[in-house]
């Protein structure tokens, strides 16, 4: 039981990082950026290359230098951030005043485009993620729970990163600008905040988080493929919504809860292993049905209009009115 929870927490750390990426961008522009699944993959491939793994590029295998895990995470982060910046420039910025469905569609387009490009360049097959001397050591036992080194590293690093980002958003000038833009982008511009730049930074930081999550995913499962980010990205999105999208702390909590629930359900529910992600979605649906703003999200942190705020009800309203109520 404890062992399963520990496994789940490591997995949940990855989900949490991906969830943070979705949350940041959603909080500021109200867009679900599906392309983070691709950033996840970009980060993993870049890191695998600088960990001395042979990556086939157009059927020729190139072997990169082995820089160690720390630098590999950095490289993965930068690569994902760069791709995120390009995607923001090409696919989102021209659509800032379009109906919100339009950037949602282009984000799906960007996801498909990047995955297909990766499949073309690297070949469609999966590759092993190189093991590293930091992570390759023997498992560590803490209080009867056996943790592999990747699990421990991933969990701690994810927590630190999410905490660090939360602090940045709360304490720095950049964080204040981001918060101001998230609350009301027009007013923020009137205060002299360059909202285009803030939005671009948000995309870059989100992509970096997704990229790091990809590196960790690779080291945890020892595997990378062009489509690896698709399902992981979806589960990260579920985690973000579970915790209350737009809230960094909520995303962290949502990711961890989801990781533990998945790990426990696979271990204790017979025949559940195949349903893996199905469980995540079932939890999500139940939660959204009863508590649409997520675990930690208050209706105020999500975008106005994106969700119906519950009206304080003192008397029972007619059924039809209750179902469609909304406070304004």
């Amino acid at each position: 039981m404890l062992q399963q929870i520990a496994n789940g927490l490591a997995l949940g750390g990855i989900y949490a990082l991906t969830a943070v990426a979705y949350s940041m961008v959603y909080g500021i522009v109200g867009l679900i950026n599906f392309a983070f699944g691709a950033m996840f993959m970009v980060g993993a491939f870049a890191a695998a290359f600088v960990l001395g793994s042979g990556i086939p590029i157009f059927n020729t295998v190139y072997t990169g230098p082995d820089l160690g895990l720390g630098l590999a995470v950095l490289v993965g982060m930068v690569a994902a951030g760069f791709v995120g910046w390009v995607v923001e420039r090409v696919a989102y910025r021209p659509l800032r005043d379009a109906p919100t469905i339009a950037p949602l569609i282009t984000s799906l387009g960007a996801l498909i485009f990047l995955q297909a490009t990766a499949a073309l360049v690297f070949g469609g097959r999966g590759l092993p993620f190189p093991s590293d001397n930091v992570l390759g050591g023997s498992p560590i036992e803490i209080g009867g729970v056996i943790l592999t080194r990747p699990q421990l590293t991933v969990f701690i690093a994810s927590l630190l990163l999410a905490w660090g980002l939360d602090q940045v958003l709360r304490r720095t000038t950049f964080g204040l600008k981001t918060q101001a833009s998230a609350q009301d982008i027009n007013t923020a511009e009137l205060q002299g905040i360059n909202s285009n730049r803030v939005i671009a930074y948000t995309f870059i930081i989100g992509s970096m988080m997704a990229g790091i999550a990809g590196v960790f995913w690779g080291s945890l499962f020892n595997f990378l493929s062009p489509t690896m980010g698709f399902r992981a990205g979806l589960v990260g999105l579920v985690a973000a919504v579970l915790g209350g999208i737009g809230s960094i702390r909520g995303s962290l909590l949502g990711g961890l809860v989801l990781g533990v629930v998945q790990s426990l359900s696979v271990a204790f529910v017979p025949g559940a292993s195949g349903f893996g992600d199905g469980f995540a979605f079932a939890i999500l649906i139940l939660l959204l049905w009863r508590k649409p703003e997520g675990l930690l999200g208050s209706p105020a942190t999500s975008r106005p209009g994106s969700i119906e705020r519950p009206l304080p009800v003192f008397t029972r309203m007619p059924r039809s009115a209750r179902a469609g109520r909304r406070a304004r």
Binding site: I101, L284, I285, L288, G305, S306, R326
Partner: protein, 347 residues
Amino acid sequence: MSDPQGLRGILSLRALAKLGINRRRSFSILVGAVVSVLIFFLPDLVQPRWVRVALIIIIWAVLASGLNILAGFCGLLDLGFVAFFAIGAYFSGIVTTRIVVSNDITTVWWVFVVDLIAGGLLAGVAGAVIGYPTLRLRGDYLAIMTLGFGEIIRTTAINWTSVTNGTRGIRGIPNPSVLGLPITSLEGLFYLGVVLAGIGLFVIHRLLRSHVGRAWISIREDQDVAESLGIPTSRYKLYAYIAGAVFAGMMGVFFVHVQRFISPESFSLLENVIILLLVVIGGMGSIWGPLLGATIWFVSLEQLAKLEIVQAHAEVRQMILAAILIAIMVVRPRGLLGEAKTLVTDR
């Protein structure tokens, strides 16, 4: 023929006006007649593979029209729409292979018709079940929740192996038979598809002119105003779910008898994204939008397959299509025939 001046010689406008047909209307009747003749002779005019493409276009256009009811007319963004398609397809696939084939009643005239209706109704029930808990949600939350439903249906199809045969899928599903005659030729299937699509588009057209359709559009434009005008928005949203699901379920039944094979692969999120793309390319909230979107999409898919680089690397096709998609969105964010001014997620 497209020049309205030329019509004067062909049709006596004054006589037609007495019948209540004005110039504009006679023009659209003429276009309709030309298109009908073209469709009727299509199998003789083009190569068989284009007939196949046309059949695929028809199926996906009606499917996308179903989503168009939800997303384009009612403003409910559904990312799990393919689940209704899957329900219809699996229902008919399972029923026909388990009951119909084993009892050798494939030639009974009503089997396909009953299947079509039952599959549509079953999907409609699923639409009501899925629609009900999502009525409180708006915009992106709705999208994610429906995405969850789609994934649950798909994982069920994968894991409930005793019924769905898991990832291996169900094989040996017979072609549809109408009036006791099994339709196996490509042309026959094409004509059957045209008839079904024609009925479907006509029903959607009539629905939109009814009070239900007007209620949907008012919900899309502004739910609060709609509610304040006395429109029970929850009920009409539920109607939209049911209507969209019925169309998807019926097309699922037709699809499975055309394909004669079914597996969870056909109902992934990517498929759902493609349905949404067809709606969005053509323009949300336009009756002909999904048909235009499907035509553009599948004709370019087929044409791209001719390129050498695509034959060598299948991924290139996805790359090109994704790039085209982004380009269309950047140039025309409301789609090519787009009418929908806002989606509820509008900020």
